[in-house]
C-alpha cells in the first residue's frame, strides 16, 4: 500500500494525503488500532499523526505507519442508523442564508429544497467536541468560508462551506457561513455515549420552519 506522506507537517506531525474522507477514516482507524501514537486524526482528505519525538525519530515513525497500515483489519463493518436533523433555516437561526443564496443565485426556498433533498453521510468529526462534517460535498451549494471567522457561533448552528454542511455542537468561534440551526443535541458529556454522530453515519436534513 503506497502512502503519500506530505513532505513537512511540523516537528512532531506526519501528514498522509488520502483520496477522500472514507479512505482517511479507514486509515486512521487502522493506525489507532496498531501502534503507539499520541493522536491519529482524519481530515477530509488526509490523516495526521502526532507522535512522541522524544522516543521516536521521523524515519522510525514513518516505517511504523507503513507497517500499521498493512496490518490485517477485522473487516467487520458496522451498520449505522440514518439520523434526521431538524433544521430551522434562515432568519436569526441562519444569519448568512441570504448571503449564501445571493452567491449561489438561489431563492431561500430553492436552497432549502436542494439542501433537504438528498441523503448525506458524516465524513468526519472534528473542530470541537461533536462537530460533524457532512458530505458528500455538493457542487451546486458550494460557498467559501468567511474570510474573518466569527468569534462566536451558537450551539446547533448549521453551516455550509465548500459544498459541505457542518453542525456546530457547541457555541464557539467559527468560519462557516451559518444557514440555520438544529435543536438536536450533538454532544452530551454526561451521557455514556457523548457523541451522537459518528463518521460513516447517514443522515437527512428536515426543514422545520423559519425563525
Amino acid at each position: 500500500m503506497g502512502l503519500r506522506f506530505v513532505p513537512s507537517a511540523g516537528d512532531d506531525l506526519i501528514s498522509i494525503a488520502t483520496a477522500g474522507p472514507r479512505e482517511a477514516q479507514s486509515l486512521a482507524k487502522q493506525l489507532r488500532n496498531h501502534g503507539e501514537w499520541l493522536e491519529v486524526v482524519a481530515g477530509i482528505a488526509s490523516v495526521v499523526v502526532r507522535y512522541d519525538i522524544a522516543v521516536m525519530n521521523r524515519d522510525t515513525a514513518q516505517k511504523q505507519i507503513r507497517e500499521s497500515a498493512e496490518e490485517r483489519s477485522s473487516g467487520a463493518v458496522s451498520v449505522l442508523p440514518t439520523v434526521e436533523i431538524p433544521v430551522v433555516y434562515g432568519g436569526q437561526a441562519g444569519a448568512d442564508l441570504g448571503w449564501v443564496c445571493a452567491r449561489l443565485q438561489l431563492t431561500e426556498e430553492e436552497f432549502i429544497a436542494l439542501h433537504t433533498a438528498s441523503e448525506y453521510e458524516v465524513d468526519m468529526l472534528g473542530f470541537t467536541p461533536g462537530f460533524a462534517y457532512i458530505g458528500p460535498a455538493k457542487e451546486r451549494l458550494s460557498v467559501p468560508r468567511l474570510t474573518k471567522p466569527r468569534v462566536r457561533v451558537a450551539a446547533g448552528s448549521v453551516g455550509i462551506a465548500e459544498g459541505r454542511t457542518g453542525l456546530y455542537a457547541l457555541p464557539g468561534p467559527g468560519g462557516w457561513p451559518v444557514i440555520g440551526q438544529t435543536s438536536l443535541r450533538l454532544f452530551d458529556a454526561a451521557s455514556s455515549e457523548p457523541f451522537v454522530l459518528q463518521p460513516g453515519m447517514k443522515l437527512r436534513f428536515v426543514d422545520v420552519g423559519r425563525s
Binding site: 507537517a9 516537528d11 512532531d12 501528514s15 473542530f127 462551506a161 457547541l170 468561534p173 454532544f187 458529556a189
Partner: protein, 312 residues
C-alpha cells in the same frame, strides 16, 4: 479540606494532564497553557507535574484556606500576598486554616499556577481533569471559578520547603523568539520566508484557544477550496485576512485555513504567557534540529523536573 474562592479573576480554571488521544472526536487537549510553570509549582509542593492545579489569567485570584497545607505559585510576574505580606513565586508557602492568599495582576506574562500539596480534586472526562470551558468538561464543574466556589483539596503530601533553583526559573518576557517548523501549506504562502525572523505582535484576540498575530500581511496562493484538515496546538494558520492565528491548548481539532507553520514542541510551553502587545519572532528550525534541541532541553530540565518529558 477546602479552599474558598474570594475573587475569581478574569478566568481561573483547574488544569491537570492534557486530554490526549481524542482529537478524532473533536475533543481538544486542554491542560495548562504553560505546562512548564505548572510543573514547577507542583514540584515545590511535592506533586507530580500534572497534578490538578489552578491556572489564573492576567488578574490573578484570591483564596481563603479552610485547611493547613502548602502551596506554591509559578508563572507570570505578579505580586502575591499571604495575609497581606508579600510572598514570592517559586517558593513553597506553608498556609494555615484561615489564611488568605492573593495572586496579583500579571505584570509580565499572562498566567499563574497555584499548586496545592496533594492537588485539587477535579471532575474527570476522558481520562483528564483539565477544564475545557466551551464544552463544560473537567475541572470544577467544567467552568471557570466564581466567587464563593469551594475547591476540594486532595490529601496533602509531606513536602520540604523548597525554592526553584535560579537556572530553572523560566524567564517571562515581553519579547519572545520561539522555534518553529514549516507545516503542510507553508509553500502556499506568497512569501514563505516572511514568516520567520520578523517581529509579529500578539493581538488582543488571545485566549486558551489561540492567539491572533499582527504585524504582517500574509496571504496564500490558493485560499479557496482547502479540505478541512487536522490542526493541533502550535499550528499557525493563515486565515486570509492578512493576520496569522497561533493555536493554543484549547484549539479546535480541525480547520480549513492553510497551516503555514508549527511551533516546535520544545517551544510550545510559553504559549500561555504570550500577552497582548508582546512581540514574537518565529525562528525557523528543521524538523531534525527541533527534535535534537528537544532532547537537549529535556536533558537540562530533568535535573529539577524528573518527568519533564511528559511536560514539554
Amino acid at each position: 479540606m477546602t479552599v474558598r474562592v474570594l475573587e475569581a479573576g478574569l478566568l481561573s480554571t483547574i488544569q491537570g494532564n492534557p486530554r490526549t488521544g481524542f482529537r478524532h472526536l473533536g475533543v481538544p487537549a486542554s491542560g495548562p497553557a504553560d505546562p512548564l510553570s505548572m510543573a514547577l509549582a507542583n514540584r515545590l509542593v511535592g506533586n507530580a507535574a500534572s497534578v490538578p492545579a489552578l491556572e489564573t489569567t492576567l488578574t490573578g485570584v484570591t483564596l481563603e484556606f479552610a485547611a493547613d497545607t502548602a502551596v506554591a505559585i509559578a508563572g507570570a510576574a505578579a505580586p502575591c500576598l499571604l495575609n497581606g505580606d508579600p510572598v514570592g513565586l517559586h517558593t513553597t508557602v506553608p498556609v494555615r486554616c484561615g489564611d488568605v492568599l492573593v495572586v496579583g495582576a500579571a505584570q509580565k506574562g499572562v498566567r499563574n499556577y497555584v499548586a496545592f500539596s496533594g492537588g485539587l480534586q477535579a471532575d474527570e472526562f476522558l481520562g483528564s481533569t483539565s477544564t475545557y470551558v466551551p464544552a463544560g468538561l473537567g475541572g470544577f464543574r467544567g467552568r471557570g471559578l466564581q466567587k464563593g466556589d469551594e475547591l476540594l483539596l486532595s490529601e496533602r503530601r509531606d513536602c520540604a520547603l523548597l525554592q526553584t533553583p535560579a537556572g530553572f526559573r523560566f524567564p517571562i518576557s515581553h519579547r519572545w523568539a520561539l522555534r518553529t517548523c514549516r507545516s503542510c501549506e507553508t509553500h502556499e504562502l506568497r512569501h514563505p520566508a516572511d514568516l520567520f525572523d520578523r517581529k509579529l505582535k500578539i493581538s488582543k484576540r488571545s485566549d486558551r484557544m489561540g492567539i491572533a498575530l499582527e504585524g504582517g500581511s500574509f496571504t496564500t496562493e490558493s485560499l479557496a477550496g482547502m479540505a478541512s484538515s487536522p490542526v493541533f496546538p502550535g499550528i499557525v494558520q493563515c486565515p486570509g485576512d492578512g493576520s496569522l492565528f497561533l493555536m493554543s491548548v484549547d484549539a479546535q481539532t480541525s480547520g480549513g485555513y492553510p497551516r503555514v507553520a508549527k511551533l516546535a514542541r520544545l517551544d510550545m510551553h510559553p504559549l500561555g504567557q504570550l500577552r497582548p502587545g508582546d512581540s514574537l519572532s518565529l525562528i525557523e528550525r528543521s524538523e531534525a534540529d527541533a527534535a535534537r534541541e528537544l532532547h537537549e532541553k529535556h536533558a537540562y530540565w530533568k535535573e529539577w523536573l524528573p518527568d519533564i518529558d511528559r511536560v514539554i
